[in-house]
Amino acid sequence: MAAGTDLTPSSYIAHHLTNLRVTFGEGGFWTLNVDTIVMGWLMGIIGIGTFWLVARTATRGVPGRFQGFIELIVEFVDNTIKDVFPGSRKFLAPLALTIFVWVFMMNAMDLVPIDWVAMIMHGLGFSAWKAVPTTDINTTFGMSWSVFFLVIFFSFKAKGVGGYLHELFTAPFGSNPILWIPNLVLNIVELLAKPISLGMRLFGNMYAGELVFMLLGLLASVAALTIGGLAAGAASLVLTWAWAVFHILIILLQAFIFMVLAAVYIAMAHEHH
């Protein structure tokens, strides 16, 4: 069904894991994954745009069902952040909402059957198209390193330049000059661990989930008009359905985890040791 004349299992998987790339500079770095960017924007516009449309026409009286649903999410995020961070939520809560909605929307693309996407995009003339931006580590790292810089920013903002530098050198072991270097090394490791784990967790979960869909799709590809082939096709159908149902939980959970952890990291930046 996909492009290429000789379709082998490995080429099927490799193909579905290939981004649509545009290279515009020297070296490997100056390349854009067009599918990731376009799908990311699309999901951001749809997700946040929905909230914006509701917010624009939000009534202060009795809300309709859809407004009630949107407000439910807003209050859920607000309460979650309230539990994590005692200060003003003017920035942190909308940040969390953005993460939750955007990540959820991008994850949700995982539920669109990959071969449909491939068929449509091939029909439009694209050689490859990955529909789920969160299976691209550039998206997850793009977000998690943004969170990292927010953590650094809020650390300086909450503690002052001197206060934060002092903390980097003296916490957690103590202020003895011998311990300055170990303190700094530990703090840097701790700081770097946050964005890496945050980005890798989401990427790993979504990438693995996508891979399982591909393997189940492969199972269907051996379906032929034999008893064994029909059994494989039926198994693929049932298992894909079951995995999709399970995946509904995963995409929601991963969006929630990303949101909470980002909020916790930024909240921790406000804490004094």
């Binding site: 917010a55 939000a58 550039n138």
Partner: protein, 156 residues
């Protein structure tokens, strides 16, 4: 795992989405929610106040009713008493009047009786004098015995 410039684009997209949500989405939604919460709280407080006012006024009404009832009973009792008093007074008055009438009638009767007696006495006296005159006509000179005769008339 091939990190490339997509990361920068996605980070910028993320920043743009955050900015948009912070500026245009979140404040409007939370404003609406907070406003509604405040309205609901106000409404509940007003309802509570209304309930209290109702309770108070119904208690007042009950009190007023009780007072009015007591007053009515008092007035009724007073009127009852007054009526009895009036009846008693009228009775007394009537009795007094009757007694007075009786006395007056008795006095009149007495007077009438005395007058009748006087008339009768005078008649009897005149009769007696006439009788005596007839007997004495022959021997008694009226002139000579006039004084005596009038004295007798007086005595009868």
């Amino acid at each position: 795992m091939n990190i490339n410039a997509t990361l920068l684009v996605q980070a910028l997209s993320f920043a743009a989405l955050i900015w948009f949500t912070v500026s245009f989405v979140w404040p409007m939604l939370t404003d609406a929610i907070d406003d509604r919460n405040k309205r609901i709280a106000d409404g509940l407080a007003a309802a509570e106040k209304g309930r209290q006012a109702l309770e108070l006024s119904s208690r007042q009404a009950e009190e007023a009713l009780k007072e009015a009832r007591a007053r009515a009973a008092e007035i009724l009792a007073q009127a009852d008493k007054r009526a009895t008093e009036m009846i008693e007074q009228a009775k007394n008055q009537a009795r007094d009047e009757g007694a007075r009438e009786k006395i007056a009638a008795k006095a009149e009767i007495d007077q009438e009786y005395a007058r009748a007696r006087e008339q009768l006495r005078e008649h009897v006296a005149a009769l007696a004098v006439a009788g005596a005159e007839k007997i004495l006509r022959r021997e008694v000179d009226a002139k000579a015995h006039g004084d005596l005769l009038s004295a007798i008339r007086q005595q009868i």
